[in-house]
């Protein structure tokens, strides 16, 4: 097993959740998703990772997509959550909350021990 050393490694596992969360609030196109993820603090998120995740979620049927013509630049392919996506987000959120709660307790307990 690879050591979970840096943020990018940790990020990989939760990128689906992050992308779904970003799209829940507002439909968006690929590069905008990258930007919003970075704005919310995930500065190390890779462009290719987001693009790949979007494509995978789309093919898995969690996203719907539509093209919006734009005056300047290329037409934009927007992604948005469909029912399946919303369900996936809800399930993942539950798992994530359980996981983080457990991990937080674990880490708190350790720091409490260390602080003694």
């Amino acid at each position: 097993m690879q050591p979970v050393a840096d943020t990018s490694q940790l990020l990989k596992g939760v990128l689906d959740l992050a992308v779904l969360a970003v799209l829940e609030g507002q439909d968006s196109y690929g590069y905008d998703v990258v930007r919003r993820l970075r704005e919310s603090g995930l500065s190390e998120v890779g462009d290719a990772s987001v693009y790949g995740t979007l494509r995978r979620l789309f093919e898995a049927g969690a996203l719907n997509t539509y093209v919006v013509p734009s005056d300047e630049g290329p037409h934009r392919k927007y992604y948005g959550l469909n029912d399946r996506g919303r369900r996936a987000l809800a399930d993942s959120t539950k798992s994530w909350t359980t996981l983080t709660t457990a991990l937080n307790q674990l880490l708190d307990g350790r720091s409490a021990k260390n602080g003694r």
């Binding site: 990772s49 987001v50 693009y51 790949g52 630049g73 934009r76 392919k77």
Partner: protein, 320 residues
């Protein structure tokens, strides 16, 4: 790469990413990369910097994309990974040059020319294989049966080759492996066949044509013999014999020259007394040659020794 336009950069980068994912099934890859160009264009629109300096090398981008997309398998371990990476990077750099792009753009236009050429080469190769390269020429001679056959075969082959070319270029994978191998084989063997029938004169021709001697020195028929002493005095009335004691006779009559042999005491002609007294058939006289005798080593006795005649005493009458 001052001529790099943003659009160009995107196309190039996308092509390199697509290339790095070439191991995926085509349908799947097309699906994954469906809006890669549009996506990259968005990225490119944000900054003046080239994509590669912001997103990293295209291969790494492809690897990250593959991991995030969960494309199942990593690229198979290829041999010489370092060489391949270097090659790919070089190619990526190269693809930014305007000259390279120009050449790459007009190469497809030469495709029909190649279709004709490969048909021609294939027939030439076939002809050389069947009939040997002695009788085959780069341009068939239409006045020989073989040449006509070649020309007809070429016409047929060209028609077929163009059909094949059009058919295969309509398909997406137009350069499938068998076709590629066939093309390479025709090109290679065609070059070899053409090389074997070079239009330049052969070595033997060159040799005899340019032996470097003026005509006067070309060995011609011997019609007379002039003997000189080593110090340059011409000798008259010399009797010549070969190693077996037979008189040395020159028959110059075949060259329009009449020899007048002196008569011996018994009335028989002496045919080996040189120089021969000769006239041409038309009656004109023959001028003795002017010769350059090499400088003589001073010899104690320049007196001509009597001919060391072979044991049987010279008997001119024994000849003719």
């Amino acid at each position: 790469m001052a001529d790099e336009t943003p659009h160009n950069d995107v196309a190039r980068y996308a092509a390199a990413v697509r290339d790095a994912l070439s191991d995926l099934p085509a349908a799947k890859r097309d699906l994954v990369l469906e809006d890669l160009e549009d996506h990259l264009a968005e990225v490119a629109a944000e900054s003046e910097l080239p994509l590669a300096s912001r997103l990293g090398p295209p291969e790494e981008y492809a690897a990250e994309l593959r991991a995030a997309y969960g494309a199942g398998h990593q690229p198979p371990m290829l041999r010489f990974p370092r060489t391949r990476r270097l090659l790919r990077r070089t190619l990526f750099q190269l693809s930014g040059w305007r000259t390279y792009q120009a050449v790459r753009d007009y190469l497809p236009e030469l495709r029909p020319a190649w279709w004709v050429l490969r048909a021609y080469l294939a027939v030439i190769v076939l002809a050389v294989m069947l009939r040997g390269d002695q009788t085959i020429h780069p341009i068939p001679n239409p006045f020989t049966s073989g040449g006509i056959l070649e020309l007809i075969a070429m016409a047929a082959a060209i028609v077929f080759s163009i059909k094949l070319g059009r058919w295969s270029s309509r398909r997406k994978d137009w350069l499938s492996w068998p076709l590629r191998a066939g093309n390479a084989m025709v090109a290679l063997s065609g070059l070899i066949a053409l090389g074997s029938m070079s239009t330049l004169p052969t070595w033997a021709d060159t040799y005899s044509a340019n032996s470097g001697m003026p005509d006067a020195y070309a060995p011609g028929p011997i019609t007379n013999i002039y003997a000189y002493t080593v110090d340059g005095r011409p000798l008259e009335s010399v009797l010549l014999y070969d190693q077996d004691g037979r008189p040395l006779v020159i028959d110059a009559s075949g060259y329009g020259i009449i020899s007048n042999y002196p008569a011996a005491a018994d009335g028989q002609p002496i045919t080996n007394e040189y120089p021969l007294t000769q006239t041409r058939m038309d009656g004109s006289g023959i001028v003795p040659p002017r010769v350059a005798v090499p400088p003589a080593v001073p010899s104690p006795s320049p007196s001509p020794s009597p001919p060391a005649s072979p044991s049987p005493s010279p008997n001119p009458s024994s000849n003719r």
